[in-house]
Symmetry: none
Subunit: 125 residues, 4 copies
DNA sequence: GTGGTCTAGACCACT
DNA sequence: GTGGTCTAGACCACG
């Protein structure tokens, strides 16, 4: 599943999971119709409680990113490119705004911030 | 004090307060030695309990951004430019990394992300 | 938990608690990963309010000695031997310095002071 | 007066002052009969309020280290050598005990602690 | 069950 | 007046 839970992350476990999967759906690396692993399987794999995984699946369903079919499991929702683009924007924007607000408060100018973005983008795993 | 509490903000009240003041200290708009308002005054002004303000001040002190002297009040700590720069970086970095990781997951390239940063920087309030 | 609150101690209750636990972490008698008792359990055991215990846990977390995960509890942080040694030093040093300054002010020579240290070390409870 | 107030010291201002003077009295560097500066003079010199100085003088008088003569000021008490030795011990002991207890909690052996005492004694101002 | 946050209200030490 | 500590009790998010 390509998910690693970081204990030092401020987000609760279920949020780390749902955020990560949401991003994979939005990038089409999990295309519409892809089945999600069962709650029990995912729980074992991630080393968390089934409740935690269920919360993550619920968050994704509430967001309309997956659909649950009773008896057969959960599947990535079929979304148009336009919908995806819209959702991508709406996921990135709050993070962007918070970053920018903090940078502004600190007196960090836009070019400097953009430079940092580009620089760190290359460093990540 | 130039602080507005936003009910829609996900952060708890005390965090909104301490984050805002931390940013003002880091940008030198509150230089070392500046006295903070008393917790009771600030509580009245912000419309919260004194405990909420105290939590904020406590967080700032734990971060080494203010010092408190019982009976006389709280004051912005004297920090060197190097310390300030270091703290600025360590506050911005986790937000940057999370943003970049999400953007990467979505297949959003660095230049595109940098462009968004610059664009939204100009729009903010 | 091996903690006794002494009413004659000048330190506030929450400090007595956090200091004691900090020492146990620093001596590895509570190794990394050890779960702390829940704040409600500890409060009952120690005969104090949950808030008092929470303050103690909070101080420990601010010091980086424990990590807390909402819903699952608090755990001793994983610290390297080098980090531990560094923290031990930085906790002992201010007490040492104050003792030495007072002894110097009184004209008590280093050998005499060292002798007192060794002697009283053997007498303690 | 050879007193410097350290804002980072955990002790309140009046305690820093009274402790320092007490040590000078106990070492005979302020012998019996020596007049203390007036409260106003000391307050100006130290940059604190007269209330703070008065509290310090009160603490010294409560300890029997100075006496107040109405209209003429405060003077160092006349104390026998035996009394001084006794007081020296009772001032050093609580600091020693706290240091030793912390060191014990950390698993720091007596010889190691005594070594640190001797080493740091040489380094101070 | 866990911790996180906030409330109101009290008493104390310090300036 | 200032902050420091503690109390009891509430509601929420998380597992």
């Amino acid at each position: 599943m390509d998910i690693s839970l970081l204990p030092e992350d401020v987000r609760p476990a279920y949020r780390q999971i749902s955020d990560r999967i949401a991003a994979q759906i939005l990038s089409r690396s999990m295309p519409g119709g892809t089945p999600l692993p069962s709650i029990r399987t995912a729980a074992k794999e991630l080393g968390v409680s089934v409740i935690t995984v269920r919360s993550a699946w619920e968050a994704l369903e509430a967001d309309g990113l997956i659909t649950t079919r009773a008896g057969s499991g959960c599947f990535v929702a079929e979304l148009s490119d336009a919908e995806l683009a819209q959702r991508r924007r709406s996921q990135l924007e709050p993070m962007l705004d918070r970053l920018i607000r903090t940078a502004k408060d600190m007196g960090c100018p836009p070019d400097e911030l953009a430079r940092m973005v580009k620089q760190r983008y290359g460093q990540g795993d």
